[in-house]
């Protein structure tokens, strides 16, 4: 356990700790481009140079291990001068096209220039070496080699995390640039992490391109519902529109976020998002649709069934269970879902595509119900006339329900999700618009947060259920999400 002092403060760190990490423990920030806590050390950008007493030259804090008795200075004049010089080098050939660069506002060059340099360039624009401007480098990424500072974070990410090794530094010296094989696309399923990793505007997201300025975006921490892994994310939004999802690194689940997960926000503003209900494919306000649905339920008395969904929150599943028990007053309901769970690709993607299979177990524990097998058998048996469920969960019993010609009441957010044969399609708020509890494959209980407002008149699923019950003559008193969780034992 070496003991050292950094800027006059002493700290003891485990052997093998680098100066950069040791400084971090003291809350001292050392600027860096190539260093990334989850990638191997490269030491190529030279931005983290610090002064070590008795060392003949400045050393890179990211690659120098702390040693007993070291006296490190991170803000001496010599260090500050080195940072100015390194920035000058990095900016020699930089195009300074910040006004049209998506990275502006979250750019390492801009930030450190303001922090450490503020010096006028000594190089003429016409002397700059021009490199290739933007081109698509895959389905999600734009590559602008002119803005690149060759930190190689992207190269190491592809080599060490996805192990696909698409990228390399080609050529040499001031002619070098990042490239991949001609004709090959950067489509390893995690490519958008490179846009996050890239400290400058070399790799930017094609999806986010020119959509919003980084400094206008509000950040709401929430979770990704793309699969059972349940990664922590941040939704970046502005004036009621989500523009991108980025990972919120945490020890339990994720440092990164997969491309599939990042695109899940698209459904919120998709063209087929339901702002009204559908009865026999015709758009209709929610209230009359609920009255209509209540009437059909009344007609089918004793022959109605309710199926929960591993794509819905615990609250919404609980509301459906209450609907079955206390309003429809039937024992024909099922909250029994199981799927093989675990990381599929060694990084993040789960074998179970549903985000809340584990969460439905708590609903089942409290309310019981049929097993999925029994429930499917019941549907196939022909005694059931009407089925209430969520669009994706319907997929699990589709064959049986179709064969028996059952009338379908489907909860869906987008028209494309709902089966064409549905009698009624009831819209509800997406989990970017309302809170919901989800339990991931490890049993971690996490909440979504409302980043944006739902379309006008659209309510959370539990509230829609509450209303449907009251039209059917039963008050469930589900007036808030926590009320839906009443008696729930986590």
């Amino acid at each position: 356990m070496p003991n050292l002092t950094i800027d006059g403060r002493s700290v003891e760190v485990p052997a093998g700790t680098t100066l950069l990490e040791a400084a971090q423990r003291l809350g001292i920030y050392i600027p860096r481009y190539c260093y990334h806590p989850k990638l191997s050390v490269s030491g190529s950008c030279r931005m983290c140079l610090v002064e070590v007493e008795k060392a003949p030259k400045l050393v890179t804090a990211c690659s120098t291990e702390a040693a007993e008795g070291m006296r490190v200075l991170t803000a001496s004049e010599k260090v500050r001068q080195a940072r100015r010089d390194v920035l000058e080098y990095l900016l020699i050939n930089h195009p300074l096209d910040c006004p049209i660069c998506d990275q502006a506002g979250e750019c390492g060059l801009q930030d450190y220039y303001m922090d450490y340099s503020l010096r006028k360039s000594r190089f003429e624009a016409e002397d700059k070496i021009l490199r290739q401007k933007r081109r698509a480098a895959g389905p999600y990424l734009m590559l602008d080699n002119e803005r690149c500072i060759l930190c190689t974070r992207c190269v190491r990410f592809c080599g060490e995390v996805t192990k696909t090794a698409e990228l390399e530094v080609m050529e040499r010296g001031d002619r070098s640039f990042i490239d991949l094989k001609e004709g090959r696309a950067l489509d390893n399923g995690y490519s958008l992490n490179i846009a996050d990793l890239c400290p400058v505007g070399a790799f930017t997201s094609r999806d986010f391109r020119f959509k919003a300025r980084a400094w206008f975006l509000k950040r709401t921490p929430t979770i990704c519902l793309g699969c059972a892994t349940g990664c922590e994310i941040e939704a970046h939004h502005y004036e009621g529109t989500i523009y991108r999802l980025v990972p919120h690194p945490n020890a339990e689940t994720n440092t990164w976020l997969c491309d599939h997960g990042r695109m899940t926000y698209k459904a919120v503003r998709a063209g087929d998002r339901l702002g009204k209900a559908l009865i026999r494919k015709g758009l209709i306000d929610l209230e009359p649709a609920l009255r209509e649905t209540a009437t059909r339920l009344e007609e089918a008395k004793g022959a109605a069934a309710v199926l929960g969904s591993p794509w819905l929150s615990v609250e919404d599943n609980a509301a459906l269970a209450r609907l079955a028990k206390d309003s429809v007053k039937t024992a024909n309901y099922c909250f029994d879902f199981s799927a093989e769970q675990g990381i599929k690709d060694g990084i993040l993607v789960n074998k179970d595509p549903a985000p809340n299979t584990a969460g439905t177990r708590t609903v089942k524990a409290l309310y019981g119900g049929l097993s999925l097998e029994e429930f499917t058998g019941l549907l196939a048996g022909g005694k059931i006339k009407i089925l209430i469920t969520e669009a994706k969960a319907y997929g699990l019993v589709k064959a049986a329900a179709e064969a028996a010609g059952i009338r379908l009441i489907i909860f869906a957010r987008n028209r494309g999700e709902a089966p064409a044969a549905a009698y009624a399609v009831l819209p509800y708020a997406s989990y970017f618009e309302t809170e919901g509890t989800f339990v991931n494959y490890q049993g971690l209980r996490r909440m979504t947060a409302a980043a944006v407002e739902p379309p006008q008149g659209i309510k959370p699923l539990w509230a829609v259920v509450n209303k449907l019950a009251s039209y059917s003559g039963a008050e469930l008193h589900l007036d808030s999400a926590p009320r839906a969780l009443k008696d729930m034992d986590f």
């Binding site: 090794a165 698409e166 490239d179």
Partner: protein, 168 residues
């Protein structure tokens, strides 16, 4: 023309590979071997080598493009490689390059129509003490002046200069 590693090459390659503890260590010697055989390292050769050594293609390409010693296209009979690094630069390399461009009427990276000359500027040749230096195929010509360069060109034009592998 699809490139295939010949059985003969595979044998040599396996022998070279066995000398090193790791596959990537054998990459440069094998690239030299390809260049010796074909005169240059083609894209397809990079692909084949990557498969042979179980390295990513990008790694092979990065190494080939880093070193100016590897030709990525067939070169002329005489490959003129003028050092552009600091010692040679200060000792007059830019003048040599300008003279060659003018006399051969080609730019760097280009080959004359008769296939006789290819002109390149290259990184340090490790002969700074004798700057400026030009390497022609495998042979160094040191302490060059414009006059010496003109004489050399004449010799090459008349086939009076032996510079290594090419004049077999």
């Amino acid at each position: 023309m699809p490139f295939k590693l010949t059985e003969e090459f595979r044998e040599t390659a396996a022998r070279i590979r066995a000398r090193y503890p790791r596959a990537d260590a054998a990459l440069i010697p094998l690239l030299h071997e390809v260049q010796r055989e074909k005169g240059y390292v083609a894209e397809e050769a990079m692909d084949e080598l990557a498969k042979f050594l179980e390295l990513p293609y990008s790694r092979v390409k990065a190494v080939v493009t880093f070193y100016t010693m590897f030709n990525r296209a067939p070169a002329g009979k005489y490959h003129l490689q003028v050092c552009r690094n600091i010692s040679c630069h200060m000792a007059g390399a830019p003048g040599l390059l300008a003279r060659l461009r003018e006399k051969l009427a080609i730019g760097e990276g280009e080959t004359t129509a008769d296939g006789l000359f290819t002109l390149s500027s290259v990184e340090c040749l490790g002969a700074c003490g004798a700057a400026p230096v030009m390497q022609v195929n495998e042979t160094y010509f040191e302490n060059l002046t414009l006059e010496k360069l003109d004489a050399l060109l004449e010799d090459m034009r008349h086939g009076r200069l032996l510079t290594g592998a090419k004049e077999k």
